[in-house]
């Protein structure tokens, strides 16, 4: 049976591990340690003489540690999905969304060994697009891929993803398809209330996400340029695309800073301390682009006027740190660039004030209006 809204009261703040207790800090430390070893296993081997993840992978008969990571990742989102659906599965939207997202990620994860031979042994994911998958628009990548996949990634990144975001908001990707989003909404769900709702955190988000987007676009542009002129300009080539760990280049810096540190170590490692969308909210360049598109598209959160009791359930459980309540109590339907459309605000609302919808029918709520309780 479908019963709308949150069923039963949650005990979120009565569970220490979900509230930065010692247990929460330990979980965070373990996650960070795991990602550090995953990305810098060669250094671990240099210093300690063992490569733990590779050793485990080989013992388990997996080809390399990335397969082990895929397996653990699938385990985490399936376990997290069970946790999530036990609490919020009474809502059809939640049920459909999580099921689709987990199915896509697990199917891709487990079919990877079968897909790879088709691509000359390369790992490819149909669920990722540039700029989230930063190398999918690098000329060399495109040249190396089969034509249809090259076409898929160009059309998908530059046309399909934004068009779908115009029609349905960025949620079609961030909350239904994406692997980062999938992990956040399942394994990361216990900590969703920890995302900061402060104005400060919103300012930080706006600065940081656009900075990363700028770096992502510049890097892609420079690497494209390098592909054209790199051979004649070896110094330029080395600065832009030098691939060795010992020679720092713009490309390797991006891989390290954005791909490993921000998306992995910080993005997942800080779940238990700052909520599950640290990466998606503050750093993901794809989220930045889709957020712009979302602002001009159909998606919005509709507010039923006059019925908000300002309880704060919506804001508390917003994983993107949007102060939904400030809009609800001002009777202001709205579209925020960062909103990933997880639907939890509408789900938690005890008065049915909020509703996610796709509609062209509005202009006034594109811009944030002056809200009675927050803006002065």
């Amino acid at each position: 049976m479908d019963q709308q809204g949150q069923n039963g009261l949650l005990s979120t703040y009565r569970e220490g591990w979900r509230n930065r207790s010692a247990a929460g800090i330990v979980v965070s430390a373990l996650l960070i340690l795991f990602y550090v070893v995953l990305y810098w296993e060669h250094k671990v081997q240099q210093h300690f003489g063992i490569a733990p993840l590779t050793a485990i992978s080989e013992a388990a008969g997996l080809r390399n540690r990335w397969y082990l990571y895929g397996f653990l990742y699938s385990l985490a989102i399936i376990g997290g999905a069970v946790y999530y659906l036990r609490r919020h599965g009474n809502s059809r939207y939640n049920r459909f969304r999580i099921t689709v997202n987990v199915a896509i990620q697990v199917a891709l994860g487990f079919s990877l060994p079968f897909i790879m031979p088709l691509f000359g042994g390369q790992e490819v994911y149909f669920s990722y697009f540039w700029p989230l998958k930063y190398d999918y628009l690098y000329p060399q990548t495109l040249a190396d891929l089969p034509l249809y996949f090259a076409l898929y990634t160009v059309v998908g990144s530059l046309l399909a993803a934004p068009v779908l975001a115009v029609l349905y908001g960025k949620r079609w990707y961030c909350s239904w398809v994406c692997g980062c989003g999938g992990l956040a909404n399942t394994f990361g769900d216990p900590w969703r209330h920890l995302t900061s709702k402060s104005t400060k955190s919103w300012r930080f988000e706006q600065a940081s996400i656009h900075l990363v987007l700028f770096v992502a676009i510049s890097t892609t542009f420079l690497i494209g340029l390098d592909w054209l002129i790199g051979e004649d300009h070896p110094a330029f080539h080395r600065i832009v695309a030098g691939d060795h760990w010992q020679y720092w280049s713009i490309k390797s810096f991006y891989v390290l800073a954005v791909g490993a540190v921000l998306a992995g170590v910080v993005g997942v490692g800080l779940y238990p301390l700052f909520g599950p969308r640290v990466w998606c909210r503050n750093f993901c360049p794809m989220a930045a682009i889709l957020g712009w598109v979302q602002k001009v598209g159909r998606y919005r959160i509709k507010v039923k006027p006059g019925m908000c009791i300002s309880c704060g359930n919506c804001s508390t459980y917003c994983e993107m740190g949007i102060d939904v309540r400030s809009y609800a109590q001002a009777d202001q339907s709205f579209t925020r660039a960062s909103c990933v459309g997880c639907g939890m605000c509408a789900h938690m609302c005890p008065r049915g004030v909020l509703k996610l919808e796709n509609t062209w029918e509005r202009a006034e709520d594109k811009e944030r209006q002056r809200l009675s309780v927050v803006d002065f």
Binding site: M1, D2, Q3, Q4, G5, N7, G8, L9, L10, S11, T12, Y13, R14, E15, G16, N19, S21, S91, R92, Y93, F96, H193, S198, T199, K304, P305, G306, M307, I309, S310, C311, G312, N313, S315, T316, R325, S326, Q329, G343, A346, H347, P350, R351, G352, K355, L356, E357, S372, V373, V374, F376
Partner: protein, 454 residues
Amino acid sequence: MRIVIVGNGVAGMEAALTVRRREPTWEVTLISEESDHFFSRTALMWVFSGQMSHRDIEPLERDAYERLGFRRVRARATGIDTVGRQVSLAGGAEPVPYDRLLIAAGSRPRPGPWPGSDARGVGHFVTLQDLDWYEREVHGGASRGGAPPRADAHVRATADDSPYRFREVAAERHGRLARQPSVIGGGLVGIEAVEVAVAAGLRPYFFIREEWFWPIALDPRESRWISDQMGQHGVEVHLEHEIEALETDSGGNVSGVRTNQGRYPSDCVVIAIGVMPNTGWLAGSAIELDERGGIAVDEELQTSAPGVFAAGDCASVRWFDGTRRPEQLWYTARDQGRVAGLRLLGDTPRYDRGTWYNSAKLMDIEYTTAGLVNWNLEREQNWYFEEQGRVRSTTRVVVQDGHVVGFNMLGRRWDHTVLIRWIEERRSLDWVLGHLNEAAFDTELVPPLRVTRA
């Protein structure tokens, strides 16, 4: 211009914000005994369960008072000198002078009239201090969200009969948490007190005087669904029980509830038999109160004293049926606060309640109402439909003389503004049933309601 507001709730804060928006330099002072920060009183139940923290139920960021230049006085107001234009405070604090004053002191829980109502282990569930008491009885204290800042800053400037005093906790005397709570009073606060006890793993008794739960809003069929739901969660719902006394042990702790139908051992009792205007402190002042204790105000929220206005739960305003009484609702307090803010600025807007609407959540079942429901109007007819498919819901449309005058909906979400429009357009039942889904506000992917006409 010195603006003083007694009360830091939604009415007072909306008024303060309305003033500040136009007058950046006026002195605005908020006097509150209960809390440093404006919070949503409707959300106490979620703090209790741990679903939200104290910070989460505060709509403003904590630097808002500084940022907006609102001065805060944390003390109990004890009276108003309408000639000398100042508010006196408990605890020997300096009186606060005003040029224009708003009284937005809200409600206080109605005390139990029975012997033993003030025993240790008996309390209410309306104020922050009530929450503190009930959490200590059931959970042993606050969640990891902690207590509100400066929770006890008012204790030097309070009074023995204040609704914001801290209560002694029976569980602390017993050396164990409450095992068998009882809740008295079949209304919204009552069912919240029951629900939080259920969420804490207890099986509370729920004593209701009437024939069915919440008769002011629900009919027997609707109410039965709610009662069944409570039963499934382990609540013992006792209808038609008149309380006779709250029994105590030799140590002054509550030990049971005695009703006209029997004795029920109990170590924690929440009395939730309604609220009344928090205006006792105005006795002897020149502010005129009505027989319910509400502050008499005109359509512009002006009290009997010049320069003094009242808004929110403590004000007796004119209802659509012509009667004057307090409206104890979040939305009306907010709307009155906005009107009062304009009055403080010198404008003369009128407060107009418009068509009645409300919503609630009863255990897991959402409730929306609009218009005249359960008013027993002459010649009224009730069209009722129960949906028992993938979604369970009830729909009740009240019809009078061929046009729709009210809606009572359980289990689905509805846009009350559309329902109100139909009432104002005097639509027929046939027309409304044909267009019903235009007012649907269900979450996405929920199949629409299909009514079958009987």
